[in-house]
Symmetry: none
Subunit: 249 residues, 2 copies
DNA sequence: GCGGGTTTTGCACATTTGGGCCGGAATGTG
DNA sequence: CACATTCCGGCCCAAATGTGCAAAACCCGC
């Protein structure tokens, strides 16, 4: 990886998360911490970020001094994203929906990863766009204002022509009896088609949505291959899902 | 392989992947790295790419990395955007391409405006999304990294099915003899289809691009209905275009 | 088609840059 | 205050670069 490229990645991470740790960057990009330190030095010399012991902070962050755990469940989602990222291999075709968990996944993608992402979620596209080695296929149709993804017959028929390796589905409710449920008809139709168009379906959710219910049925548990939460895989809460034949991470 | 041919290949690779390594190019084209280095030197001298230790980066790449708030000709573009906005009426279907001028147009849309915008430009979509009363139709296809718009056969065939009221085209070069010209083949094909799919074609450009030329032909002047620049409509520079039958604003 | 000039290319050399590693100093942390 | 990280300043090696030079290819007018 070229020096400039690496520095651009660091800057992107800083602007995204407001903070970076040298150790994290080092393992992400796979260079020594010394190199990271030298990069941070250069970037702070040119005023692109603020160097602190152990990493760096974004410039905007220092102005507003409030703690980093601002969004409830944010760290949980980052844990989920890390687990999800570990499933992606070079060369894969990956379908993704929308939602904050998916955005976190997009942000956690290692810079070296070489894959094709297919989605109709505008915020996700914006994140993928920043990654140096990722190809993006945009699913076109009418943009749903509330969910910021494209929905409609066109979108569904395009997805029909795809057979992706993985589908990452951020879910709003999952339940042993009813499976996955949601509350937006258009989005449900889309998710159903995405499930049908993927070899492997991976559900991402924070644990509080487990054993909850929404009005519209998306799919029952049999179609789900993997379930990822922020919990340890052998947590009591997840046992029933393992028994139902789902791989839990 | 001819020098010119080689440099075209290099440029193509850079625009495709956003970065190239001298070593890779050398083995791909089968010339010495010295030659590659000399090519990169020439290409960076003419501003086609950015040379870094070990290879080169595309121009768009460094813009993402080091955002400079002073977009070239920014104020002029705001003037242009204001004029363009005044053409849009409630209920219209509007096609737009990409480019900084179009983004400025999107930002200048009055909140009360009720219209449908159709585009494949991700930055433009993001802007439209913020407006309360605007419907957005996303044109899907593979996302071009350099231009941040979707390009390809799917995109073109979708646009074929549309007949929009207006098409706002941000242009890179216009010239009395050759009409509108550009430098990216995929984008040119898309713009041609957009022109064909619209009742009225409105070209937006800052005045310095008037009477300039790019390698690939998009359309001649006869297809253009309106030309908007930051200049006064009766400026000397614009006279020839008025004589060619174009409405100048 | 041929001799002279220009351009392009490859090679050898010295120089610079990038990045890993190490030991001692500095900074956090409990 | 003791212990663990992190930082700093070298040091070193490999890779990339710039430069000068000579061979090869190309152009062009005669």
């Amino acid at each position: 990886m070229l020096k400039r490229e690496r520095q651009a990645y660091i800057l992107h991470q800083v602007n995204l998360h407001n903070k970076v740790l040298s150790a994290t960057l080092s393992s992400d990009i796979d260079v020594s911490e010394d190199t990271i330190r030298r990069d941070l030095l250069e970037l702070s010399d040119t005023g692109k970020l603020i160097r602190v012991h152990g990493g760096a902070l974004s410039h905007s962050f220092s102005k507003v001094a409030y703690p980093s755990n601002k969004v409830y469940g944010h760290n949980n989602k980052r844990v989920i994203a890390q687990k999800a990222v570990s499933m992606i291999r070079d060369g894969m075709f990956v379908l993704t929906g929308g939602g904050t968990t998916i955005i976190e996944l997009a942000r956690a993608l290692p810079p070296a990863l070489n894959a094709t992402f297919i989605t109709g979620s505008i915020p996700a596209i914006v994140e993928y766009m920043h990654h140096p080695n990722i190809d993006v296929i945009v699913i076109g149709d009418k943009l749903s204002r509330s969910s910021k993804i494209t929905v409609g017959a066109d979108a569904i028929s395009k997805i029909q022509n795809i057979k992706a390796d993985l589908f990452f589905l951020g879910i709003n409710a999952i339940d042993l009896e009813h499976g996955i449920t949601d509350n937006d008809w258009d989005v449900v139709r889309l998710k159903q088609q995405m499930i049908a168009s993927s070899q492997k379906v991976v559900c991402l959710t924070i644990s509080e949505k487990i054993n909850s219910l929404q009005p519209i049925h998306i799919s029952d548990l049999s179609k789900i291959d993997v379930l990822i939460t922020e919990l340890d895989p052998d947590d009591e809460l997840l046992k029933p899902y393992i028994n139902a034949g789902i791989t839990v991470m």
